[in-house]
């Protein structure tokens, strides 16, 4: 292990996403992070960025319980995007986030294109550094079909949000599609500044003792280390299909997992379910990434990416 910092070139973890510089590539996956609660366990200044829970134009009540189920190496959730609405968020949550020396990425939810646009517009004057637009929400106007599963709809949301927003926008893609590169190309063409992937797979668990689905909502979003091979594959595919930055996520548990996503083509990453297994996971994973880089004498994320040969 070579470890001669100071004399040599210094280790640089920073990454630029659509003009915004993150101190390091570790961000918090939307819906698995709360600044107040997570910050009780580790120093949030360690993060490259905080990605918030999804926020909609009005408060959403979310789904009935149980909302959570554990699976083999993974979990299901059907929180249903419970959130207090953008006005409350701007008034009561955003000010708290501003105290930290890290970037703020606001995850945006919506049931119609107008919903998304309303949130994006309201965030224009605020401290938010970027928006992450979650297009996995069902489009209620189109009978509940996910925006993210059809390239025309994905393109449409991107176009309209891009038009009204003054911030860089990241489009968050769902893995529940036949060809994710098609969706990625569609949103890139309409001005997405970056994409993040993957959102949760759609899964289900039945309790054979109670003889009913574990989740009140029956199906839910499947996340955690179990799904990592799908996420890595999709990041790899999308990297070869678009030129905009990629935030990679899905099952990241260790610093080496981060390196895996970077080699597959990610510019930054998000840590989600890992923070349930270990509340300090994002900070720990950042330190493990540094150890990994020191072991192989990588000085930047770019060097990791370039070391990958197919």
């Amino acid at each position: 292990m070579s470890n001669h910092q100071g004399t040599e070139k210094k280790l640089d973890l920073s990454v630029n996403i659509a003009g915004v510089t993150l101190n390091n590539p570790i961000t918090t996956a939307s819906g698995t992070f709360s600044a107040y609660e997570s910050g009780a366990f580790y120093n949030l200044n360690e993060l490259g960025a905080m990605i918030t829970k999804g926020v909609a134009n009005i408060p959403w009540d979310g789904n009935p319980t149980p909302r959570i189920a554990e699976t083999y190496g993974g979990m299901l959730n059907a929180v249903g995007l419970q959130n207090p609405g953008i006005d409350y968020f701007i008034a009561h949550e955003l000010p708290y986030l501003r105290q930290f020396d890290t970037k703020i990425i606001v995850n945006v939810a919506g049931r119609s294109i107008e919903d998304y646009c309303e949130v994006a517009e309201k965030l224009n004057g605020t401290a938010a550094d970027m928006l992450e637009v979650n297009i996995s929400c069902p489009n209620v106007k189109k009978g509940g079909i996910g925006f993210g599963t059809h390239s025309e709809m994905a393109a449409k949301v991107t176009k309209e949000v891009r038009r009204v927003s003054k911030k860089p926008i990241i489009i968050k893609l769902t893995p529940n599609v036949t060809d994710i590169t098609e969706i990625a190309k569609a949103v890139e063409a309409e001005g997405a500044d970056a994409v993040s992937l993957i959102n949760t797979l759609l899964g289900m668990k039945i309790d054979v003792h109670r003889k009913k689905p574990v989740l009140a909502n029956k199906m839910g979003g499947f996340s955690g280390p179990a799904i990592k091979p799908v996420a890595v594959r999709m990041v790899y595919q999308v990297r070869r299909a678009v030129n905009i930055p990629i935030i990679g996520l899905g099952g990241i548990m260790t610093g080496e997992d981060v390196a895996e996503f970077i080699m597959a083509g990610a510019d930054a990453v998000s840590v989600g379910t890992a923070a349930f297994v270990n509340p300090t996971a994002p900070a720990d994973i950042k330190n493990e990434l540094i150890e990994y880089m020191q072991k192989y004498n990588f000085k930047s994320l770019k060097e990791i990416r370039e070391a990958f040969t197919e």
Partner: protein
């Protein structure tokens, strides 16, 4: 700033106290120091295919120790039951909003099955008269601990094998047990019935709820319950792991 933590705590004791029910005593001074009655800790299984924390109520808080009492119901608790004294387990700081012991004349503590444990520390924290009414399917546990904490203990079992045959509410009515404040933890059906009973006799009750958890520390909004609020729907989804697990029986929407 980092006021919460997860530590590797040494197991001092891990012993079966009733069929499939274990008492685990942990050496965890820093966690014990910050804990109060009715809060819970998260226990993390070692098996890597089981990811999520297991929330377990704090049964007793010692100077340097925490006592937990848990039932074996699935993979995680089965793993815990296999630990020997001397081994370690990952455990979080005490979490949540617990019981708020009131200065009243007679407190009635009502527990059902694996909901009995948090009543022990509660009883220890309260001066004044206290009556514990605890129900089980078959085999009672923690009776002595409650008595040591100064409670007069009544026992009900479904099977009638020990104590009164029936449920705790029937036992309360049969024995004419009364008090000026109730506290309770147990299965939802029991809590719901008790909340209705307490309302009928115009006595306040604090209830400790359970829900499936994701993070176990307030970040994921996985573990909510419906608490009455002046909103359009008449309730708000509050987090069992943070706003609870203890709520007033009168503020809970008992719909299911």
């Amino acid at each position: 700033m980092c006021k919460k933590t997860v530590i590797e705590a040494k197991i001092i004791q891990n012993q079966e106290i009733a069929q499939g029910v274990y008492r685990m005593v942990l050496s965890a001074p820093e966690i014990a120091a910050g804990a109060s009655c009715g809060q819970f800790v998260n226990l993390y299984p070692k098996a890597k295919h089981t990811l999520l924390p297991r929330p377990i109520s704090i049964c007793e808080i010692g100077e340097d120790t925490l006592t937990l009492v848990y039932g074996v119901v699935g993979e995680g608790t089965r793993e815990f039951a296999g630990y020997n004294a001397g081994e370690t387990i990952r455990v979080s700081s005490a979490i949540g909003t617990g019981f708020k012991p009131q200065k009243t004349k007679t407190a009635v503590l009502v527990g059902g099955g694996i909901g009995v444990p948090p009543l022990v520390e509660l009883a220890k924290q309260m001066s004044g008269e206290k009556i514990a009414v605890i129900g089980f399917r078959d085999e009672p546990f923690l009776k002595e601990e409650l008595e040591k904490a100064g409670a007069k203990v009544y026992i009900a079992t479904d099977s009638g094998k020990t104590g009164f045959k029936g449920n705790v509410i029937e036992l309360i009515q049969e024995q004419g047990i009364s008090g000026d404040y109730f506290y309770s933890c147990g299965p939802k059906v029991m809590l719901k019935a008790l909340a209705a009973y307490c309302e009928s006799i115009n006595t306040p009750v604090q209830v400790s709820l359970e829900e499936r958890m994701g993070c176990g520390y307030g970040a994921c909004v996985g573990c909510v319950c419906k608490i009455k609020e002046n909103t359009e729907t008449g309730y708000e989804h509050k987090k069992v792991c943070k706003d609870g697990p203890v709520f007033l029986g009168s503020e809970v929407v008992w719909d299911e």
